[in-house]
């Protein structure tokens, strides 16, 4: 009897497996000779360029110091390391032999030309919303890049995740390929923004928290997630920004990488805004309009608080002659040992740049944000603040942009912790962070493992 049951179960399992395999099985799409540049319309390529920038394709498909789009970028996930692939039109190592339908299948269904399932680190759960028109433009853009011969390193994933077949199951659960549906009640601008945010922009890939299987938690849509060890702040009503974001402020931030009353793009977001600086302004405005509406209007209390903060930041004088006085007063609030006193560190290290919203004439320097305005300080986790203190913001080769020195060498863990706690207490009305010390150690370790 027992044997029969087992046999029966096995049979069921076999049938199910067969059904699953049949479901999961994808055939290869026949390779073609790489199409010539002349087969693509220039305007189409240009539109594709702007879409590729919105999609931030270059970030995950370019190795550090490698050729653009030639793959090799290591994306470290909780399941192991996945390498961005070579999407230049190289015939052997890139997508040179892909047809438009093969490209569409990859974008919409997460299946490559050969028929293999792609890991959802490639965010086809978003790209499935991209229209065929836009896919065509994107295809035209990618197929006219410099072909680069570069083998993508094999992924390094833990068993059993190295079996791609399993991805089909994941898709069954989480991939909804209905395409983007506009909301007729909203403006064209809003709808374009929604389409870009939900589709190619794949904002949710970082800004939405994920479940144990690595899928976005739809009930916490854009409620704040994680990206390469950084916290990706909430873009919905859960935003903790001290100064409520507006579409205009978002536009400035997304185009220029900083908005003087909100924040400077750090971590992986720096690359996103760098790309967006080259996209037509109307597209970025649509994104800003939509995100602002997802965040919703700020209530009166928040508005009032915001204007107080701005007023304070305007007249801030921490870096003035009364610095030691400020420091002494603040030191009273803290029971830390004097050598790791956050207030003194702030005054001696940070204040010279992060001084006031409006720089005093003739002594302006460093152009950094007044910390009372910073979203980074009011996030639920200190991880971004810690990382930027330790790592700084490296200067871009010959480009204008923020420079912040990293303090990993200058400060001990205890000093970084004291500074972080001091900043949180001084510049926000939010509760103390509780895991500062652990996060400092963790962040330092992650840099030690991946030295710049």
């Amino acid at each position: 009897m027992a044997r029969r049951i087992i046999l029966g179960l096995l049979l069921v399992l076999c049938v199910l497996s067969a059904v699953f395999v049949a479901f999961a099985w994808r055939t290869a799409i026949a390779p073609v000779e790489p199409p010539a540049r002349s087969t693509f319309d220039t305007a189409l390529i240009a539109r594709g360029a702007s879409l590729a920038a919105i999609g931030d394709c270059v970030s995950c498909h370019t190795a550090p110091e490698g050729k653009p789009y030639a793959g090799g970028f290591p994306l470290h996930t909780q399941f192991g390391t996945i390498y961005g692939t070579n999407i230049t039109p190289d015939a052997e190592t890139g997508i040179g032999r892909w047809t438009l339908p093969a490209f569409r299948r990859a974008m919409h269904e997460g299946v490559d030309r050969e028929g293999r399932h792609l890991y959802p680190a490639f965010p086809y759960d978003h790209f499935t919303n991209v229209s065929d028109d836009d896919l065509q433009a994107l295809y035209a853009f990618l197929m006219t890049r410099e072909p680069v011969r570069a083998e993508t390193p094999p992924n390094d994933l833990t068993f059993p995740l190295n079996f791609r077949m399993l991805i089909a199951g994941w898709k069954l659960l989480y991939l909804e390929s209905t395409g983007f549906r506009p909301d007729p009640a909203q403006s064209g601008d809003w709808n374009r923004g929604a389409y870009l945010v939900r589709g190619l922009g794949h904002c949710g890939a970082c800004h939405t928290p994920r479940n144990a299987l690595g899928a976005e938690k739809l009930d916490l849509d854009l409620g704040g997630g994680e990206a390469e060890g950084w916290h990706a702040p909430a873009l919905n009503a859960a935003t903790t920004a001290p100064i409520p974001w507006t579409a205009d402020a978002l536009l400035r931030y997304l185009r220029r990488g900083a908005d003087e009353t909100h924040d400077t793009a750090i971590g992986p977001m720096a690359a996103v805004v760098n790309n967006l600086s080259a996209v037509p302004e109307s597209e970025v405005r649509s994104i800003a309009t939509y995100i602002a509406s997802v965040m919703g209007p700020a209530d009166e209390q928040r508005q009032k608080r915001a204007s107080q903060i701005v007023a304070k930041a305007r007249g801030a004088n921490e870096a003035s002659g009364s610095v030691s006085e400020v420091q002494r007063q603040d030191a009273k609030k803290s029971d830390l040992a004097p050598q790791s006193n956050g207030a003194a560190i702030y005054a001696g290290s940070c204040a010279v740049c992060h001084v006031a919203l409006e720089r005093p004439a003739g002594s302006a320097s460093g152009n950094a944000l007044h910390l009372g305005l910073s979203t980074t300080l009011s996030l639920p986790t200190p991880v971004n603040l810690i990382r930027v203190i330790l790592q700084g913001i490296a200067p871009a080769d010959g480009e204008r942009g923020p420079i912040m020195p990293g303090y990993a060498g200058a400060f001990t863990d205890a000093q970084v912790g004291a500074l972080v706690s001091y900043l949180r207490a001084t510049y926000t009305d939010r509760p103390e962070w509780t895991d500062v010390d652990r996060q400092v150690r963790k962040a330092r370790q992650s840099f030690a493992e991946a030295p710049e």
């Binding site: 050598q339 006193n341 003194a344 290290s349 320097s365 460093g366 700084g392 060498g409 200058a410």
Partner: protein
């Protein structure tokens, strides 16, 4: 407040927020570290704290008690220059020389962490420091030469 600089202990009296650079230059008369920007953007003020290169212009002394601070004055003297100094002299790696002490301290920190850096390791590590005279090629060569000196026990080279 006590500071440990080049192996000596100095008693200093200063506002705890004072960046180390001003204590070095103004109170202790150590000229090596230079003021370039005061913003942590150029590296002219680089010193070593424990094992790491640090911008002394934005590091308050209160954060440095009990830690080991080193400046170029600790690398050697005019009469008896250390390996990094010898390497910079032999490669003639200076024009105005203003950026050079900061370069040498960063190079020293690199060589202590990685005694055999590749050319690209050196470039990447030195990137935080600016030189306006365009002495870069010689600085890179000097760091390589210093690595060679360090490798043969600091005996190589001839004193300038």
């Amino acid at each position: 407040m006590n500071l440990d600089i080049n192996g000596k202990t100095f008693q200093i009296d200063a506002d705890p927020t004072t960046p180390l650079l001003y204590i070095l230059r103004d109170q202790l008369q150590l000229n090596g570290a230079k003021f370039g920007c005061g913003l942590g953007q150029c590296g002219a003020c680089t010193v070593i704290v424990d094992k790491q290169p640090v911008f002394s212009c934005i590091t308050p002394v209160s954060a440095l008690q009990g830690r080991k601070i080193r400046t170029i004055e600790g690398l050697g003297t005019l009469e008896n220059p250390g390996p990094v100094q010898r390497a910079f002299i032999e490669e003639q790696a200076a024009q105005c020389g203003y950026c050079i002490p900061g370069m040498m301290m960063r190079a020293q920190a690199l060589l202590e962490q990685n005694p055999a850096p590749s050319k690209s390791d050196i470039r990447r590590y030195m990137n935080a420091n600016l030189c306006r005279c365009g002495t870069h090629m010689r600085i890179l060569r000097a760091v390589e030469r210093a690595a060679a000196f360090v490798k043969d026990g600091g005996k190589g080279g001839t004193a300038g």
